[in-house]
Amino acid sequence: MADSSGTTLMDLITADPGPASSASGSTANATPSSATASAAASQSPSVPMTTTSSSSLGKTILGEKKSKRATLMQIQNETISAAKAALQPMKTNIMPQKQKKKPVSYSQLARSIHELAATSDQKSSQKQLVHHVFPKLAVYNSVDPSLAPSLLMLNQQCEDRTVLRYVYYYLARILSDNGAQGLSTGGGIPTPNWDALADIDAVGGVTRADVVPRIIEQLSAEASNVDTEFHARRLQALKALTYAPSSNSDILARLYEIVFGILDKVADTPQKRKKGVFGTKGGDKESIIRSNLQYGALSALRRLPLDPGNPVFLHRAVQGVSFADPIAVRHALEIISELAMKDPYAVAMALGKVVVPGGALQDVLHLHDVLARVALARLCHTVSRARALDERPDIKSQFNSLLYQLLLDPSERVCFEAVLCILGKYDSTERTEERAAGWYRLTREMLKLPENDSKSSKDKSQKTRRPQPLIKLVMRRLESSFRSFSRPVLHAAARVVQEMGKSRAAAFSVGLTDIDEGVSINEFADDDFNENPYADGARKASSMSGSTGSKETIASLLASLMEVVRTTVACECVYVRAMVIKALIWMQLPYESFDELESIITSELSDPAWPAALLNDILLTLHARFKATPDMAVTLLEIARIFATKVPGKIDADVLQLLWKTCLVGAGPNGKHTALEAVTIVLDLPPPQPGSPSGVTPVDRVSASDPKSALALQKLVQAAVWFLGENANYAASEYAWESATPPGTALMMLDADKMVAAASSRNPTLAGALTRLQRCAFSGSWEVRIVAAQALTTMAIRSGEPYRLQIYEFLNALAQGGVQSQLSEMHLSNGEDQGASGTGLGVLISPMIKVLDEMYRAQDELIKDIRNHDNTNKEWTDDELKKLYETNEKLLDIVSLFCYVPRAKYLPLGPISAKLIDVYRTKHNITASTGLSDPAVIATGISDLVYESKPAPAESDGLDDDLVNAWAANLGDDGLMGKSAPAMSRVNEFLAGMGTDAPDVDEENIVSRPSVGYDDMWAKTLLESSELEEEDARSSGSSSPDSIGSVETSISSHFGGMNYPSLFSSKPTSYGTSQTSERSGGNRYGSSSSIYEGASSPIREEPPSYASSVMQRHDSFENPMAAPESSSFESEDESRRNTSGNPQFGSALYDFTAGGDDELSLTSGEEVEIEYEVDGWFYVKKKRPGRDGKLAGLVPVLYVKPR
């Protein structure tokens, strides 16, 4: 009940156009029983003021039916007639209805005001106004301007203070209703006639435009009234005036004039502020009136726009610091500290006299107004850090010492503000240097109390006049705060610790020289440490007492503080806990063990009370932390993994993905594998079942109970799968265009098991990712399966062999349902119809398979052609080259549809085609990078996407904002919050700042993730381009010369036939793998046929297309074998083998004993001839049989030292 009515009321309240008085909370009221009635009433002109009966409900509905115009006319008529009748209106209007508990409509109230205003001299009218009309009017949020004449009349004629107070209140509300949107700015309990009035502005009702000048006129007159008896009203008039729309410069000028006029009169008299008389009675009447006026004027000035260039403005504000009224002092300080942001020099000069010891600013230290001291802290901070004052260290130090003294302030608010100022926290902008300097200040500097500071505070620790290290003061203060029971205090303390962590991280990242935290800060043995006023008896932390007398270091202080912080996790308020966790994350250093943090977070996350927004906030904190210290990428990913495994339903997949991405990029070459592992763990959710092939299946089953979180989990898994597909190649540093293994090598190893084994031994990262994706592709829900299939295709296209072949095989199986049938016993059906063709992905996969088919077929063709040319020693004709080139381009186009590949380097026909294509290009003046000039490419539109890397990041920014903010959409305050939230701005900053540097900037294509459409693929391509272009550049810088070189040689050898064996012998060994690609294909075929024969059932299950390609290959080899030169390959007889074909030799480094039939035993020092390399093995031949009597076989690469 409470809830439902509460919601209704909240509806009423917030819909409310929030008038002027920011102070007067708008209230909607209704008894619980009338919740529905009031909801209905909010639409109607009448609002239930008290308990609403059903009859009143009917009445409001009636009222609703009246047209607004009619209502308005009725009001006016009745008002006039009632005003004429003048004398007996009130009782009938209000009281009876109230007693009958009927609602009072706005029109009734308005009428009553008009009537009562006419009779305001009567006590009864005044009473009526004060007790019934005005209070009820307050419920309505906008007061319509037609009331203004009556209010002004009351203002002039009425003597009753309470009535007048209400009049000022309502006049202020009328003033503040912003003309243009007076109505539309809110909703709330709508003021019904307001609409009508707005409509008839043109017709000539009373409008705001009419009354505002009148109100201002009258209030200004009152504000300028110097009669001392009048001065209370004068202050109220001034206050009401500040609500006037300041967009109007005339009004503004007038307000300044009034305010400065008052200050001219009252400010210049020398002020003698006696200590302890703030706001209390005493003193002569004249000075009190003056002080009241000072207060009124400064308060008004505070509400007016700052006027930074105006010396009078500053002068008056500085004078205000010496005023007697504490609130006037506060406003003066706030104005000054804001001015100091703009012009610290002028402010410092103007404050010259008051900042000195004994000056007014020192007095503020003891002012009983917290916000005044907060403003003082900000002022001191701004001035003491100002670059403009670099030549005046004396002034700076004065302000600095003032700031340090505020650390001793009894109020936590002030103390924390001072800490934050010392730490270098500016409003919302973050500056690393400032932060780092802040940490340095906090840890190194001393608080020296000025001599004349006699009774400065009740803080007992001050009894010692010794200088105190700031860090110690702060730590003590924080520790005591953490023992508080008040949630706001805990929250604030945790926030301060978080800021400390930020500054500390900044200090480390900047690399401040003497950051050593092991240094003792306690050079002076502090005897009075036991008197620590905060350590009260039993609750005194042992860490505190233990440190007494011993040498204290910053590290030890921090450790004891963190101990206290950790215990705060026990607080029952999640927001406090969230702040504590953020603080812990920030205080975590890369080299520290994070077990404790991890366990805290793990246990926290099992608490269902955590709202999703808060968890995402922490994820963003991880971002920010990563940005501050990239070294922590792996640690942070581990933490993020906990989130993914514990609360997959609550966190936003986009935010998590962003984190994965940034961390993956930041993890560096060594951490990449770990980083990717952390991501893929998500796919084993929940609970993690390592080693279980059906690890993904429970995802659907477990979460099916809760549809919403199931959906979220689904999305998360999709995100992970997509992420894996996009980034596995990056993480594994495996790209087809840099691949060390030529396609032919892999083709030889058609045994799937061996293939997988070989692949994983070479690149465990990629192999692991592949395995996971394969699992997802057949056992996830259909969305996951689709994404997985896409991810696999991406990987197939980008990876070299044998991964491509592995995926190809898998996709074929998937399309046909072969694997499905094998694996269906392993996992229980998730209840979905798997579709007619096995996994139901047939339709989706077939284009992908087609692409791969095309590629393999073209490769076979090419190999055949090359073979033919080699055998017949024919030059390639231009037509043949053209055909080849066109095939190459066509494949590139197709491939680009699926994922981005660097066009200039990607060779769909395999590395062997590079030379030929190059020849063609040189002949026809097609530069490698100008693939875009090819009409076919332009037609596809891909060139625009791929080659314009610059626009992509720009666009990404726009997208990023949306995405990053998207999760906040449930609070929707992107504009306001987004701007100031540190985490958010940091993430944005991160993306904006690093976008061009980082190799991966395609966070933004999160949007296109789950889609199947080509449009989205294109979009993805567009968005990715910057990443891979980067990749491209990198590879051409470092590793590509090698691969290009090797490719060149091998091609040239093919191109020119077998006449250039010397090319091979001249090659360094590292190129052996690729250069032998083609010819070793022949060798292998002959020599290691056992491998081929060993190919087991998976191959048999291959689709016809694949099988046929194998067969083609087989056929193509028949001819060469018949040729005299190649005949050597078909036999293992080494005597017939002439060395011209394979010139590479090596010597065995160690003894090796063959472990299998195809392996060869070695004796160290033995000379061998290296035929080719397969995944860590050399196929070698020996001159004479060795221990095992064999002449040829496989030996580990490391056992042979090639020459």
Binding site: S5, G6, L9, M10, I13, T14, G18, A20, S21, S22, A23, S24, G25, S26, T27, N29, P135, K136, A138, R165, Y168, Y169, S176, D177, Q181, S184, T185, G186, A232, R233, S246, S247, G279, K285, I288, S291, P305, D325, I327, V370, V374, S411, R413, F416, D427, P488, L490, H491, R495, C573, Y575, A968, G972, D973, D974, L976, G978, S980, A981, A983
Partner: protein, 152 residues
């Protein structure tokens, strides 16, 4: 249950421009709905068994929320910048104190409504244009009665 909500997200630029057209100073209209649902949910989650004047804290990004229950009334105070948790706690303390003074005890819905006009005036003295103004109870009382802040 009756809810009264006060807001002063005090924005720097507001002081510059000096105009606030609504109670949600600086909070654009489209965000208000979100704020409302956020606060309602917050209250529903936490205020069920809350003691009178027990302070609760929440934050959203850089905006702080301190809220409490006073009799039948849930009171939310939202602030940013210098109005952090502690400043808001102080403000809410002043507000609850004033309301209790006016209603003589933790207000029921009835008494709160009866005194509503006066409460509005009091709040008007405590918060002025989105900036915390008076915190001293006596002073607030004087100002509500249209007396000068310091009596002579």
């Amino acid at each position: 249950m009756l809810r009264l909500r006060l807001q002063w997200p005090r924005l720097f630029f507001l002081t510059f421009l000096g105009f606030h057209s609504c109670r949600f100073n600086g909070v654009p209209a489209e965000e208000r709905l979100h704020w409302r649902s956020f606060l309602v949910k917050l209250g529903a989650d936490n205020l069920k068994h809350a003691k009178n004047e027990e302070l609760f804290v929440a934050s959203h990004k850089s905006v702080y929320i301190v809220y409490t229950v006073l009799g039948d009334i849930c009171l939310y105070v939202v602030g940013k910048d210098e109005y952090d948790e502690l400043a808001l706690a102080e403000a809410i303390f002043v507000i609850t104190g004033s309301i209790k003074d006016i209603c003589k005890k933790p207000p029921t819905e009835r008494t709160f409504l009866d005194k509503y006009g006066k409460i509005c005036l009091t709040l008007d003295e405590i918060v002025w244009k989105g900036i915390l103004e008076n915190t001293d109870k006596e002073r607030i009382k004087r100002l509500v009665r249209l007396k000068p802040p310091t009596e002579f």
